[in-house]
C-alpha cells in the first residue's frame, strides 16, 4: 500500500512539472500547448545523445534540459507568432492547431531517427529505507529534483520583479498591461522556462524508469489533465493536482490496469470541471 503511495507521489511530481509548464504557458500566452510532452521527450533524447558521447550524466542531464529550453524558445519565436497576432479564442484555437501539428512533427522525427530509443541512466540503484519501505534512490533523487525545481520556480515568482510581472499577467493581462508590463517579452521567457521544466521531467523520467520516443502524447495528455484539475491558472493548485493524480493513477494502475486508470483520471478531470471549474485550490468567490 505505502509502496504504491510513494510510487504515486514520485510519478505525481513528474506530472506536476509537466502540468505547471502547461499552466504557465496558458496563463501567460493564452495557448494550450499540445506539444508540451514532446518538449519533455526532446529534452530526454538530447540528454541520452550527450550521454552516448561519453559526457557525464549530470552534464548530459543539464544539456538535455537546456535543449528543451532552446526548443521552447524557437517554437515561441517562430511557430507561435501567427497565433500571438490574435487574442482570446482565436489565439487559443490557432495555438491548439499549431502546437498539435508541431507535436506530430517531433513525434515523427524522433520515431524515425531513434526507433528503438529509450533513455535510462544506467546508474547503480541501491535501495533505501523510507518509513519501512525500500525505495530506489533514483526515485528519491527524481523527486528531490522536482521539489527543488518547484522551490526555484516559487522563489522566482514571489521574489523577483520579473516573477511579479508574470503573476500580474496571469491574474489579468489587461490590468497588467495598464500597469506598464509588456506581456510579449515575459511570454517568451515563460515558454522557455516551461519547456525546461518539461525537460527536467523527461530527463528524470529516465532516472527512475525509462523514457521512450513515443511517450510525448501521453505526457501531454497527463499534463493537460493535471492542469485542468489544478485550475489552469493556479500554480499551487497544479502542483497539488499532480501529486493527487499521480497517487490516483498509481493505485488505479495497480488494481484495475492502466487503461481503466486513464478513464478514472479523465473522470476526475471532468468532475473537477463540474464541481470546481476554477480548479482544486481556487479561492471561493
Amino acid at each position: 500500500m505505502t509502496a504504491i503511495l510513494f510510487d504515486g507521489i514520485v510519478q505525481g511530481l513528474q506530472l506536476s512539472l509537466l502540468a505547471v509548464g502547461i499552466t504557465l504557458i496558458y496563463g501567460l500566452g493564452g495557448v494550450l500547448n499540445l506539444a508540451h510532452g514532446q518538449f519533455a521527450v526532446a529534452g530526454g533524447v538530447a540528454a541520452a545523445l550527450l550521454l552516448q558521447l561519453g559526457i557525464s550524466p549530470v552534464l548530459a542531464s543539464l544539456g538535455g534540459i537546456a535543449s528543451a529550453g532552446v526548443l521552447g524558445l524557437i517554437v515561441d519565436r517562430t511557430l507561435m507568432l501567427p497565433a500571438y497576432r490574435y487574442r482570446g479564442e482565436e489565439r487559443l484555437l490557432l495555438g491548439l492547431i499549431l502546437t498539435l501539428g508541431f507535436s506530430f512533427i517531433v513525434d515523427g522525427t524522433l520515431n524515425w531517427k531513434f526507433p528503438e530509443f529509450s533513455l535510462t541512466f544506467r546508474l547503480p540503484v541501491p535501495l533505501m529505507d523510507v518509513a519501512g519501505i525500500p525505495m530506489r534512490t533514483a526515485s528519491l533523487a527524481a523527486s528531490l529534483i522536482a521539489v527543488l525545481t518547484f522551490a526555484g520556480l516559487f522563489a522566482f515568482l514571489r521574489l523577483t520583479l520579473l516573477g511579479k510581472s508574470i503573476r500580474s499577467i496571469i491574474e489579468n493581462e489587461v490590468g497588467a498591461e495598464l500597469c506598464g508590463i509588456d506581456p510579449s517579452r515575459t511570454r517568451t521567457l515563460i515558454v522557455c522556462l516551461a519547456a525546461m521544466m518539461a525537460g527536467v521531467a523527461g530527463v528524470t523520467q529516465g532516472l527512475f524508469s525509462s523514457l521512450g520516443t513515443e511517450m510525448g502524447p501521453e505526457f501531454t495528455i497527463l499534463g493537460l489533465l493535471v492542469a485542468v484539475v489544478g485550475g489552469v491558472r493556479s500554480i499551487n493548485g497544479t502542483l497539488a493536482a499532480g501529486i493527487l493524480l499521480g497517487i490516483v493513477n498509481a493505485f488505479a494502475s495497480h488494481y484495475v490496469g492502466a487503461y481503466v486508470a486513464y478513464i478514472i483520471l479523465l473522470s476526475f478531470a471532468m468532475a473537477t470541471i463540474l464541481v470546481r471549474p476554477a480548479g482544486l485550490l481556487a479561492r471561493f468567490t
Binding site: 520583479l161 511579479k164 510581472s165 503573476r167 500580474s168 491574474e171 489579468n172 489587461v174 490590468g175 497588467a176 498591461e177 495598464l178 500597469c179 506598464g180 508590463i181 509588456d182 506581456p183 481556487a282 479561492r283 468567490t285
Partner: protein, 236 residues
C-alpha cells in the same frame, strides 16, 4: 505663446474588426485640467479612451502626449509614458487581496504615490486590506483601480464611467476623491453618463455622437444651458 496641451488627439479613427467606431475625433487636454467626454451609450466615449490607450484593434490619426506620438505604441508603453487608464471593468486582480493588488505589479515609473498615501486618500481601502478583489463593493473596486493607477505616477488619469454600478453614496465619495486629485493638480479625463455630476467636476466637456465630437465647451457653460443638455445628452 500658450503651453501646448498635454494630450492632443486629432482626427482619430478606430475600428473594432470591420466596424468603424470613431470618425475623426479631435480634442485637447491642457495640463492640470479635468476634461469629460459625454454622450449617449454607444456614442464612442469608451472607444475614444481605449484608442488613446492603444487598446483597439486598429486606429488612425494622431494622439500626441507630452510631444510624443502614441498612435503606433502598444498599451504597456503608453502606460509607462504616464497615461493611466481605469477601464469600466476596472482591471483589478480579482483573486488577490487589496494589498497584493497594490503591491504586485512592479512599479515601472518613478514619481508614483507610495502605498501609504493611497490609503490616506482612500481610507476604506486600508480597512479592507486583506479582502479579496472580488469581495469589494463597486466603489471600493473603483478606488482600488484608481489607487493602483496613482502608484504608477501618472501624468494623466483616464477613468471610464467610474460611477457605473455604484450606489449614490459611493458616487458622491468617488467624486469627492476626484475633486481632491484635481486640486492636487492631476490632469484627469473622465467619461460619464451622469452629465450634471461630470460637468460640476470638470473644466471642459466634449460631447460625442456616433463616433465624432458634436459639441465642446467650458463645463460651467454647458451646465447652464438646458437646451444643449436636452438636445445632446437626452436629459431634461
Amino acid at each position: 505663446m500658450p503651453e501646448a496641451p498635454l494630450l492632443s488627439v486629432s482626427a482619430l479613427n478606430a475600428w473594432y474588426g470591420e466596424s468603424h467606431i470613431l470618425h475623426g475625433v479631435s480634442f485637447e487636454v491642457p495640463r492640470g485640467e479635468v476634461v469629460t467626454l459625454l454622450g449617449r451609450n454607444g456614442a464612442g466615449k469608451t472607444t475614444t479612451l481605449k484608442s488613446v490607450m492603444g487598446m483597439v484593434g486598429r486606429r488612425e490619426g494622431s494622439v500626441r502626449f507630452g510631444g510624443k506620438e502614441l498612435v503606433a505604441l502598444p498599451s504597456n508603453r503608453i502606460a509607462r509614458l504616464g497615461l493611466a487608464f481605469c477601464p469600466e471593468e476596472r482591471g483589478i486582480f480579482a483573486s488577490l487581496n487589496v494589498h497584493e493588488n497594490l503591491l504586485l505589479p512592479p512599479v515601472v515609473r518613478a514619481g508614483g504615490l507610495p502605498v501609504g498615501q493611497v490609503f490616506d486618500l482612500f481610507p476604506n481601502l486600508k480597512e479592507r486590506l486583506s479582502s479579496q478583489g472580488t469581495k469589494l463593493s463597486g466603489g471600493e473596486q473603483q478606488m482600488l483601480a484608481i489607487g493602483r493607477a496613482l502608484m504608477g505616477g501618472p501624468k494623466v488619469l483616464m477613468l471610464d464611467e467610474p460611477s457605473t454600478g455604484l450606489a449614490p453614496k459611493a458616487v458622491a465619495e468617488l467624486y469627492r476623491n476626484l475633486s481632491t486629485l484635481k486640486s492636487g493638480g492631476l490632469t484627469i479625463i473622465v467619461t460619464e453618463q451622469q452629465v450634471a455630476l461630470a460637468l460640476s467636476l470638470t473644466d471642459r466637456a466634449y460631447v460625442l455622437e456616433q463616433g465624432a465630437i458634436r459639441l465642446s465647451g467650458r463645463s460651467a457653460e454647458l451646465l447652464g444651458d438646458p437646451a444643449i443638455k436636452k438636445a445632446y445628452l437626452g436629459v431634461a
